[in-house]
């Protein structure tokens, strides 16, 4: 029997990018909040410019609970699922400790893919088999929460649309924002200038994308010093606006948040009436029951779905909040792969770059261009960035210029070209489909004997056509900038475990096709809220974290303002 602890108003499962954000408005509203985190605390002294540790040894000082429960992956139900790695980490602050920190708002189109496509192109353009729906609200509903997160944690960037006024230094396709970013964007570099100039010659509008990285002293944190090693590296200066250094310490200051590290939640508990009563967790050798009036699941897409399915009970025999069979449905891994890689005939000056410092092109994203003559909907954001590190540079392709990838010829090649290669990041519209889903693996278990998540999903024609189209545009851009050799990667097939994993607990008004309502609370279990990209029904063509954070703030804000309706 688990030991029963004193009750809390709200238990948040997972204090990462989303849960960490939600803790702040709740604690400020006076709720007693317990934050259950599978990892521990890390401090700036745990970070360093050390590529071996950051990128190859997977942060050994972080508790990798996630590694023991990595999903299995198969493209279709006819294939055998194989367990791979897990891209996320466990710590207070979660993956926001070491993410690239690109912090985009979704474009307005992403909130109404179905109706906007019908309005512009007529019926029949949404791919057959896709289960995509419009969001239950448009971007104007989320705008105030984007704004709050941008200012609460500190996001730098160049606005492209302030209250309808377009500024071509930023993204001219973004929805109207009430005010500019709180900080100027990351600075330009010789490479971003090279790519920016090339884009302008093509008639495109390049801009520095937004980043949760301080570019000026902000809220007691110093600005980025551009030493590099930001790719899967934590920031020793706290310039990266992880929730561990922003929202969570502010929530702790209120005295209303208690953080419980190394707590491995194994079950959400419900009573016979189907109301959530708290969560069970393991810590060391001990087993606890944490009662809570409201539970917010914020443990990342795979674990959110897994915990619901593992929390089957008398009231929910098929998994918590799963009477409608929607838990695990509408899953998608963002199509971020299929890059174009380029070789230049001059140094690119990227040794001290960041993955969040680059040149973005949004002309070919979403519905920012006419699809009348095309056989797909959606598109890709093109991102050319400055991240370059010695161990990965030594692994660069030789573009067919050496017979082998070792020996004296190869060595001469990398000596000359280590700072002359660049690989693009192409984030593409990815849709949910009927035959793409998450469920519990029937065979593979975690170290506690609980089944891991199984991903059954593949990219469909729409994603592959976007990928080819995006590669065409990226190759054009690189060649205009002077690239002498180009490699285009394969277009993709199975959806692997991803840092951009969406769906599985989709948000929508229709309880037959969605797990959570427009506020993020389960249709079938109203005092259980879900945070993170698992509630998102569309991907957008850009990083999801800021949207997941804005939604988390909105759900927490709703809970604080409607406490008795949700909790009683």
């Amino acid at each position: 029997m688990p030991r029963r602890l004193a009750g809390a108003d709200v238990a948040i499962v997972g204090l990462g990018a989303a849960g960490g954000i939600a803790s702040l408005p709740l604690a400020r509203a006076g709720m007693k909040v317990i934050g259950l985190e599978a990892g521990g605390w890390l401090s700036p002294r745990d970070f360093g410019p050390d590529e071996l540790r950051n990128n190859y040894r997977n942060w050994p000082q972080a508790v990798q609970k996630a590694a023991g429960e990595a999903p299995t992956v198969r493209a279709t139900a006819a294939d055998r699922a194989v367990q791979g790695g897990h891209p996320m980490m466990n710590a207070v602050g979660g993956t926001s400790m070491h993410y690239w920190a690109q912090s985009w708002r979704l474009n307005p189109w992403d909130f109404r893919v179905v109706s906007a496509t019908r309005e512009r192109y007529g019926p029949g353009r949404v791919p057959a088999g896709s289960t995509v729906e419009d969001w239950p609200f448009d971007h104007t509903e989320l705008e105030p929460f984007y704004d709050r997160v941008e200012y609460a944690i500190g996001v730098s960037g160049q606005a492209g649309n302030v209250q309808g006024e377009i500024d071509s230094r930023g993204n001219i396709f973004e929805g109207p924002r009430r005010r500019p970013y709180p900080m100027r964007p990351l600075r330009a570099s010789p490479f971003t200038e090279l790519m920016g100039d090339a884009a302008r010659r093509l008639g495109w509008n390049p801009f520095q994308g937004p980043a949760a990285i301080a570019t000026e002293a902000y809220d007691g944190r110093p600005p980025c010093q551009y030493h590099g090693f930001c790719n899967r590296g934590g920031c020793h200066l706290r310039s990266k606006s992880s929730t561990a250094f922003t929202a969570i310490p502010k929530a702790l200051e209120t005295g209303n948040l208690e953080v419980v590290p190394y707590a491995r939640v194994i079950r959400v508990v419900t009573d016979n009436d189907g109301r959530v009563t708290g969560v069970e967790y393991l810590k060391g050798n001990e087993h606890f029951f944490q009662p809570a009036r409201v539970v917010l699941l914020a443990s990342y897409t795979y674990e959110n779905v897994r915990l619901l399915l593992l929390s089957a009970s008398a009231a929910f025999p098929d998994g918590l909040a799963n009477h409608a069979g929607q838990v695990g449905r509408h899953y998608l891994s963002h199509h971020q792969g299929a890059p174009v890689t380029a070789l230049f005939d001059r140094d690119l000056h990227n040794w001290y770059g960041l993955p969040a410092q680059g040149a973005a092109i949004d002309e070919w994203a979403d519905d920012n261009f006419d699809h009348s003559g095309l056989d797909f909907i959606g598109g890709a954001n093109l991102w050319a960035h400055t991240d370059r590190r010695p161990m990965s540079a030594a692994r660069m392709s030789t573009f067919g210029q050496t017979a082998r990838n070792w020996g004296s010829d190869w060595k001469a090649f990398i000596m000359k070209n280590a700072d002359r290669g660049n690989s693009s990041y192409l984030q593409k519209t990815t849709l949910p489909y009927e035959d793409n889903y998450l469920d519990l693996d029937p065979e593979v278990k975690d170290p506690f004997g609980l089944p891991v998540i199984r991903i059954t999903a593949r990219y469909h024609d729409n994603e592959l056509r976007i990928a080819r189209f995006a590669q065409d545009r990226m190759e054009q851009w690189y060649r205009e900038a002077g690239a002498t050799r180009i490699i285009r990667s394969g277009l993709g097939n199975a959806m692997g475990a991803s840092t951009h994993a969406y769906g599985g607990t989709r948000m929508g008004d229709n309880a037959e096709t969605n797990v959570v309502d427009r506020w993020g609370f389960c249709h079938e279990a109203p005092n259980l809220g879900i945070l993170g990209a698992s509630v998102m029904g569309t991907s957008g063509a850009r990083n999801p974290t800021l949207t997941a954070q804005a939604l988390a703030w909105r759900t927490a804000d709703y809970l604080a303002n409607n406490w008795s309706a949700v909790a009683e």
Binding site: G48, D50, Q225, A394, K411, K416, A418
Partner: protein, 234 residues
């Protein structure tokens, strides 16, 4: 911020000038590096320590691999990333030393593949080439490594090609990692690819100079914010 250079660099790298930056090594040799003032990140000057005592002893032990295994491994690393007319390679970087340490600790899961693989290479050399791998002429050694990469040999984990990839990954890690881990000794890996070194910050001028920056030969753990020795806590 003035800072003591605790690194042992007492001489310029042994590499010959490289075609892509003809003046850089000569400049360093001329400056003698030690005693010169290296420009650190954000325009700060990092004063290098003056005349240092004799170069400290470099201690190497074998933690998990045998002397015979490392003899083979050294040659394989040298074939992959050779010491040649373009300068030092994996041998000078002490990649094999790095690999021994890695296999004793964080990469212990790869130890069995190395034990079996190195023995299989030795066995192949004796059986089909008539002598120990270390005593074959370099062309013969190279052709065995190529056969390994092309998955033409038997007796490897998970396969010949799989072991080649593992070996190459470890050799690259050992040549280009932070020197703290026992490889990239004297920064020969970073100098090879003209990576100017870990900096605590990079100014716009630093970025513009890029590979033309004088290499600062700093490990991350030469800097007070990163090193964990108590006296250096920032």
């Amino acid at each position: 911020m003035a800072q003591k250079n605790r690194q042992r660099s007492t001489s310029a790298p042994a590499a010959e000038p490289q075609p892509a930056s003809p003046g850089r090594r000569n400049l360093l040799k001329g400056a003698g590096l030690v005693g010169a003032a290296a420009l650190g990140g954000s325009g700060t000057l990092i004063a290098q320590q003056g005349a240092e005592p004799a170069q400290p002893r470099i201690r190497e032990a074998l933690e998990v691999l045998t002397a015979a295994e490392v003899e083979t491994l050294e040659i394989l690393c040298d074939l992959l990333i050779p010491s040649d007319e373009n300068g030092p390679g994996a041998r000078e970087a002490r990649a094999a030393h790095y690999i021994d340490r890695a296999l004793a600790g964080p990469d212990a899961e790869d130890l069995e593949a190395f034990r079996i693989g190195l023995a299989a290479i030795e066995d192949y050399a004796r059986r089909y080439r008539g002598r120990p791998f270390a005593r074959l002429i370099r062309d013969r050694q190279e052709s065995i490594l190529l056969a390994l990469q092309q998955n033409k040999l038997d007796g490897f984990l998970p396969s010949a090609g799989g072991f080649f990839d593992l070996l190459r990954n470890h050799a690259i890690n050992g040549t280009f990692c932070d020197p703290y881990y026992g490889g990239n000794r004297d920064f020969v890996g970073w100098d090879m690819i003209r990576y100017p070194g870990v900096r605590i910050g990079a100014s716009e001028r630093d970025v513009e100079l890029g590979a033309d920056l004088p290499p600062n030969h700093q490990s991350a753990y030469d800097y007070p914010p990163y090193t964990k020795t108590g006296g250096n806590r920032a």
